[in-house]
C-alpha cells in the first residue's frame, strides 16, 4: 500500500491544483489575521469557510482524481497487488494531500502571527482536525460515487449534489421540520439529525470548544445539555470517525466487486 500511496502523493504533488488549494488557504490565513488582528474572530471566520469549502473541494477532487487515474488503476490491477491496497493507497494519497494543503496553508500564517504564544492554539488545532476529518469523509463519499458510475459528468454532478445537500439543503429541511413539529419534544430528533450530517457535526464540535453560546443554536444547546462539553466533544469526534469508517467499508465492498 505504501508504494501506491507514495506514487499517488508524488503524482498529486505535481498537479497544479494542490498548489492552488494550498495558496488559497495561505492567502486566506494571512488576510484574515493581518487585516483582522483578532485571533479568535479569525478562527470563527475560518470555521465558516472550512465547513463549506473542505467538503466541496474533497468531493470535487475525489471524483476527479478517481476518473483521472483510471488508466493508472488499470495498469496497477494487472500487477501482483491486492485490490484493497490499490484503492486504499489512492484514497489515502488524495486525502492526505488535501489535508497537507489545508494544514500547511493555514498553519504557516497562524504560526508566523505568533499562535504558539496564545491560548487560541487549541481552538485552531481543533479546527484543523475537523477540516482534516471532513477531507477524509468527503473524499470517501465521492470515491463511492465515482465507483458507482463510469460516466464522468454524472459522477461529478452527483458529488456536487451530495455536497449541496449536506451543506445547504439538509439544514433547510432540518429547520423546517423543527418549525413544523415545534409542539413536540425535539431533543432526540435534533441530536440524531445532527449526527447524520458530518458538516453539522463538525460545526457543533468546534462551537462546543469555542464556547460561544450565541452561535451554538438549538442543537448545540441540546448537545451541551445532554452531554456537557467534554463528553459532547468525545461523542462528536467518535461520530466523525464513524463517518470515515462507514464510507470506507462501503467503498471496499464496491471495488472488490467492480469490473474494469
Amino acid at each position: 500500500m505504501y508504494k501506491i500511496l507514495k506514487y499517488s502523493i508524488f503524482d498529486l504533488l505535481r498537479s497544479r491544483w494542490s498548489y492552488v488549494y494550498f495558496l488559497f488557504y495561505l492567502l486566506l490565513g494571512f488576510v484574515l489575521l493581518f487585516l483582522n488582528n483578532d485571533l479568535s474572530k479569525a478562527v470563527i471566520t475560518l470555521m465558516n469557510i472550512i465547513l463549506v469549502l473542505t467538503p466541496l473541494i474533497g468531493s470535487a477532487f475525489g471524483v476527479m482524481y478517481y476518473y483521472n487515474s483510471k488508466e493508472f488503476t488499470e495498469l496497477l490491477l494487472a500487477q501482483p497487488i491486492r485490490r484493497n491496497k490499490i484503492f486504499f493507497g489512492q484514497y489515502t494519497g488524495i486525502s492526505l494531500s488535501l489535508t497537507l494543503s489545508l494544514v500547511l496553508g493555514l498553519g504557516i500564517p497562524f504560526v508566523s502571527y505568533g499562535l504558539f504564544r496564545t491560548s487560541e492554539i487549541f481552538d485552531f488545532t481543533l479546527l484543523l482536525i475537523v477540516g482534516s476529518f471532513l477531507n477524509f469523509i468527503f473524499v470517501a463519499l465521492s470515491y463511492n460515487i465515482a465507483l458507482s458510475t463510469d460516466n464522468k459528468i454524472k459522477g461529478f454532478g452527483y458529488a456536487i449534489l451530495m455536497w449541496l445537500f449536506l451543506s445547504v439543503i439538509y439544514d433547510g429541511l432540518f429547520l423546517i421540520s423543527l418549525l413544523m413539529f415545534s409542539d413536540y419534544p425535539l431533543d432526540q430528533f435534533s441530536l440524531f439529525a445532527t449526527i447524520l450530517n458530518p458538516i453539522d457535526l463538525s460545526r457543533i464540535l468546534i462551537l462546543l470548544k469555542l464556547d460561544i453560546s450565541a452561535l451554538l443554536g438549538y442543537t448545540g444547546a441540546v448537545f451541551r445539555k445532554f452531554f456537557g462539553t467534554g463528553l459532547g466533544m468525545i461523542l462528536s469526534l467518535t461520530a466523525l470517525s464513524l463517518w470515515v469508517v462507514f464510507p470506507l467499508l462501503l467503498m471496499r465492498r464496491k471495488f472488490n466487486r467492480k469490473d474494469f
Partner: protein, 235 residues
C-alpha cells in the same frame, strides 16, 4: 496450464461469456479470435482478475486464480489501449512498475530494441499512439514470466517494430512460455499461432490449429476461413 470451466459473465442484461470452457497446455502461442464484442477482452480480463465472473472457475497450474493476486507475479499483460498516467515520464513509469514487482527485468534491452532512448524523459501524455504502444510492449515483456497475455499487440506499430514484436514473441515461445494473443490481423495469426480459439457469443466456436480450421472450412486462406465461420453463424 490454464483451465477455464463454465465461465459466465453478464454486464447488466448483456451476456458476454456464456458457459465458456477452455483448456490450454503450457508452452506455445494461442490466438483468441472472434468478431467485435465476442468476449475476447472480457475473457482475458477474467484471467487477470480485472473482471469478476458471475460463475465458473479459472485455474492456472491447478490453482484457482479467482480473488487471488499472487499469481499475477508470474504473468505479463499488454492492455489493448495504451493508457498511462499522462504526467509521468516513460522512465518513471518503467521504474514504478519495476518497483512493484520483485523480479529481474531487462528493460534496457527492450528500450534499445524499440529505439525509445530519446523518449525516456518525455511525459507519457505527449507521446504518439505508436510510441505509447512501444512503451506498453516494454512493460509487457520486461519481466520473465511463464504466461504472457497480449491484447491487440499490433495496434499502431510501424513495420520495423512489428518485426521486432514477432521476434520477441518467437523468442519467448522458444523459452517455453505460454502466450495468449487476441488480434484481428489474420496474417499475424497465420504466421505466429500454434492454436486458434474462435469465440462467438461468449462460447468457443472452434478450437484447434490453423490447418485444422482451413481443412474444416475447406478454404485455404485463414482470413476467409474465419470470415466463413462468422458468416455461417449469422446466416
Amino acid at each position: 496450464m490454464i483451465e477455464i470451466k463454465d465461465l459466465h459473465k453478464k454486464y447488466g442484461k448483456l451476456t458476454v461469456l456464456d458457459g465458456l470452457e477452455l483448456e490450454f497446455k503450457k508452452g506455445g502461442i494461442l490466438a483468441i479470435l472472434g468478431p467485435n464484442g465476442s468476449g475476447k477482452t472480457t475473457l482475458i480480463k477474467c484471467l487477470l482478475g480485472m473482471v469478476i465472473p458471475n460463475k465458473g472457475n479459472i485455474t492456472i497450474n491447478g490453482k484457482s486464480v479467482l480473488k487471488k493476486w499472487e499469481y499475477r507475479n508470474n504473468l505479463n499483460y499488454l492492455p489493448q489501449i495504451a493508457n498511462f498516467p499522462s504526467n509521468l515520464s516513460v522512465i518513471e513509469l518503467i521504474n514504478m512498475v519495476k518497483n512493484l514487482r520483485s523480479k529481474q527485468s531487462n528493460e534496457q534491452e527492450l528500450i534499445s530494441l524499440f529505439g525509445l532512448e530519446e523518449f525516456l524523459k518525455k511525459k507519457l501524455g505527449n507521446l504518439s499512439g505508436g510510441t505509447k504502444q512501444k512503451v506498453n510492449l516494454i512493460l509487457a515483456f520486461m519481466f520473465d514470466s511463464d504466461l504472457i497475455i497480449l491484447d491487440e499487440p499490433t495496434t499502431g506499430l510501424d513495420p520495423i517494430s512489428l518485426i521486432h514484436l514477432k521476434d520477441l514473441i518467437r523468442k519467448e515461445r522458444v523459452k517455453g512460455k505460454t502466450i495468449l494473443i487476441t488480434t484481428h490481423i489474420m496474417s499475424f495469426v497465420d504466421e505466429m499461432a500454434d492454436e486458434i480459439v474462435f469465440l462467438l457469443d461468449g462460447k468457443i466456436y472452434f478450437n484447434g490449429s490453423g490447418e485444422a480450421l482451413k481443412k474444416q472450412t475447406k478454404i485455404d486462406d485463414l482470413e476467409r476461413a474465419i470470415a466463413s465461420l462468422i458468416s455461417k453463424h449469422y446466416v
